[in-house]
């Protein structure tokens, strides 16, 4: 079994167009949520989201690329470039054959679906661009990252709603650990902030009209975000021998299924996933200092997650810091675990715990330290990242400093 480390990271999200800007925003407790700006937004009852501000696709990609790159692919490529650059890896020869890409997304090329549905259904056009299929398919982002960096090993996309990124990173970790590959580029991307994407979420009646306030008694629901987070996972020995800068070590992963309800989370499923991930990591619960919560800001998630954490950690819960960074970058759905991993890296490497912003009132059913509103300096030995998806699919990662 190989030890697995992260040697590169990249992101674009509402808090920043790279990792340092994003982490600085988290340290300052900045909120990336604001009024949504896109076509027909006036027909929505939910009009806020964490959109990437000032993003113009033509600043980054040429015409030939843009006919193939949906917004979700653009985000993945931009984040992957940063991650590969930070890792210092150059892919060629054997390394190229033994490296792959594994990304999560829930909605894939949603903008492409929407634009082309409008063209044929609303505008009555009988012809669409020839590249609609390769542009909207859920594996498009993964494929373009593999092509951009010449990665010829195993590559695929996972789609498990809000747990997609954690499943992708967890599986990539297992692939490097087992020796199946030398390097995996892993993470997730989502670009669901479209009229149809928000309209669909609106229907569930769990969205907030004003702010995302996880664990706060006056929480009013979740707020969608967009963007990508991408990481370079490689064997510890290789990273050390080439003198790479190690950001964190991934030591454990577990996934399971509630098998109970399509939207309502299960305390048993969540707590079992955490227990198994810690067992996989061979980490004592007392060594966990920080949990990046799923923390969607819905009543159903927050109360279930708090109960599950309390069950798993017992008396140690009093010493645990638990924060939901969704309060700042919104819920990136299939990309969320990847952006949240940045907060985990910041905790491990920099000793800074990202806050839960928007916290206003104590909820007695969530009696945990949610690092309210202000970032905190603290050294941690172990970090857990939770993702509990619709469909009851749970994926939990465990990390530590090297």
């Amino acid at each position: 079994m190989n030890r697995v480390v992260i040697t590169g990271s990249g992101t674009v999200n509402a808090l920043g167009t790279d990792v340092s800007e994003t982490l600085l925003s988290m340290q300052e407790g900045k909120c990336g949520i604001g009024p949504l700006k896109f076509r027909d937004v006036d027909r929505l009852s939910i009009k806020i989201g964490a959109q990437i501000k000032g993003y113009t696709e033509t600043d980054y990609f040429n015409r030939q690329e843009l006919v193939l790159y949906d917004r979700v692919t653009q985000f993945a490529i931009l984040a992957a470039r940063q991650a590969v650059n930070e890792s210092g890896l150059i892919f060629g020869g054997e390394l190229s054959e033994n490296s792959g890409v594994l990304l999560g997304t829930a909605a894939g090329g949603m903008n492409t679906w929407e634009d082309n549905y409008r063209a044929v259904f609303e505008s009555g056009k009988n012809r669409v661009h020839p590249f609609v299929v390769p542009k909207l398919m859920n594996n498009a982002a993964t494929s373009h990252v593999s092509m951009e960096f010449n990665l010829k090993g195993p590559s695929f996309t996972v789609s498990t709603a809000c747990a997609s990124s954690n499943h992708a990173i967890g599986l990539a970790f297992q692939m490097v650990r087992s020796g199946m590959v030398d390097v995996m580029i892993a993470g997730g991307s989502e670009a669901m902030l479209t009229f149809g994407g928000v309209k669909a979420w609106e229907g569930l009646r769990v969205m907030s009209k004003d702010a995302c306030r996880p664990f706060s008694d006056n929480r009013s629901g979740m707020v969608q975000g967009e963007g990508a987070g991408i990481f370079i996972l490689e064997k510890y020995e290789n990273a050390i021998s080439r003198g790479a800068n190690v950001l964190a070590e991934i030591v454990g992963f577990a996934m399971n299924s509630d098998a109970s309800d399509i939207v309502v989370p299960s305390q048993h499923g969540a707590s079992t996933a955490m227990i198994r991930a810690l067992k996989d990591a061979r980490m004592d619960i007392n060594d966990v200092g920080y949990i990046n919560a799923h923390g969607t800001g819905t009543r159903a998630n927050d109360t279930t997650e708090c109960a599950a954490i309390t069950k798993v950690f017992g008396a140690h819960v009093k010493k645990l810091m638990v924060s939901s960074t969704k309060s700042m970058h919104g819920h990136l759905i299939g990309g969320t675990g990847a952006v949240e991993l940045l907060a985990c890296i910041m905790a491990i490497r920099d000793g800074i715990i990202a806050p839960t912003i928007g916290y206003e009132q104590k909820d007695t059913s969530c009696d945990i330290d949610v690092v309210p509103n202000i970032a905190r300096n603290a050294k941690v030995k172990g970090v857990v990242s939770n993702a509990f998806a619709f469909g009851g699919m749970n994926a939990v990662l465990v990390m530590r400093p090297v």
């Binding site: 229907g203 769990v206 009209k209 929480r219 309502v264 009543r299």
Partner: protein, 85 residues
């Protein structure tokens, strides 16, 4: 059908019940209507009466739409129909 009868029919359908089994004092929980079915019932009510129902599943008790019992739902719908038509 009156507003009352239409609302009862929607609730009965969600609870897989006969209309006669939906009593005025029953809560949605009594009728076996879970959170997902509540959201679906509200959607059905909006479609049936062409109204917007202010309801957030995270703040049920803070919503203007009172779902604490069958009779409170009927009353809320009657008010919304009067306001919005």
């Amino acid at each position: 059908m009156t507003v009352h009868d239409k609302v009862i029919k929607i609730i009965a359908e969600q609870g897989l019940l006969d209309v006669g089994d939906v009593s005025q004092t029953a809560t949605l929980q009594d009728l076996g209507i879970d959170s997902l079915a509540v959201v679906e019932s509200i959607f059905a009510i909006e479609e049936e009466f062409n109204i917007n129902v202010p309801f957030n599943a995270n703040l049920p008790e803070n919503s203007d739409f009172d779902i604490s019992s069958v009779s409170s739902i009927v009353k809320s719908v009657e008010n919304l129909v009067a306001e919005q038509s």
